[in-house]
């Protein structure tokens, strides 16, 4: 984005938004409005993909294994205001940008090696 007008419309990142990368296990806290009630829903899983870099339309996809081993994936906009905060629980050593291979794996095979020494 080279144009100043476009750059001025770039959304601001939520202060509670950490740097995430594929392989991270995260807890996404999302505000949900049901009629007049508002509550926070937590979605915990592994970040399996990120799209769009830092552009206004950027997203990340979180996968978790639900009841009876059913995989659930949700894609959140990086700049979504409905996401209150994101916690990073664990960082894993991965060798792909997209971890779609996890979809075909279950149980032990779907484990990821943890990153022991974090470069900062």
């Amino acid at each position: 984005m080279t144009n100043a007008l476009m750059a001025s419309l770039q959304p601001e990142l939520n202060a509670e938004m950490p740097d995430i990368s594929p392989g991270d296990t995260v807890r996404v806290h999302q505000r949900i409005t049901e009629g007049r009630n508002e509550r926070v829903q937590v979605f915990q899983g592994v970040v399996i993909a990120q799209h769009g870099g830092k552009s206004a339309g950027a997203t990340y996809t979180v996968r978790r294994t639900g009841a009876h081993g059913v995989g659930v994936e949700r894609t959140f906009p990086l700049y979504s205001k409905a996401v209150e905060r994101v916690e990073v629980l664990r960082k894993a050593k991965v060798r792909r940008a997209q971890l779609y291979y996890l979809r075909e794996r279950q149980g032990k095979a779907a484990r990821l090696r943890e990153k022991r020494f974090l470069r900062t």
Partner: protein, 212 residues
Amino acid sequence: MKGILGKKVGMTQLFDENGVVVPVTVIEAGPCYVTQVKTAETDGYSAIQLGFEEVAERKLTKGQKGHLGKANAPMLRRLHEVRCKDAAQYTPGDVIKADIFEDGDYVDVVGRSKGKGFAGAVKRHGFGGGPKTHGQSDRQRATGSRGAGTSPGHTWPGAKAPGQMGSERVTVQNLKIALVDAERNLIAIRGAVPGARGSVVLVREAIKRSKA
């Protein structure tokens, strides 16, 4: 009728107050100058002529300079007329900025669509083309029949055929304005707008929604 000339900058997305993603086209709108006022008495109809895009003096002809000089306007490259009933309230030299519109207003956007060149009937009119198999050759994107035979003995005027596609005047009606910032000359319009990035567009009050 209100109108302003602008330049299409590009598309992006915003979040509205409910956190819903809104796709928008960013337009650098104005500042425009009123370069001529036409009234029913002098011209037979009522309109204002807008000028947009300042340019070096050497780029204009003597005639253009004279016309702009009469309005006390700077050197402008683009001129466009907008019909309006209340033309008499403007005087040449008036500046029109993006704040003639508000968030939530509905507008029509007029632009020149991207040129596609000389396009075949499949691309230009959505023809199905010919069969891909069963011994066919050279028929995959063919136009097919041009009409009946000896009677009428000619192709009907207006028959859909290959030809120039795009690069024509296109109006998109009833687009909602997502954001206006007159200080930055910015209008963000919900949805897509005709033309390539950098092309000039006219943003005007939606004719199907205006009460007048």
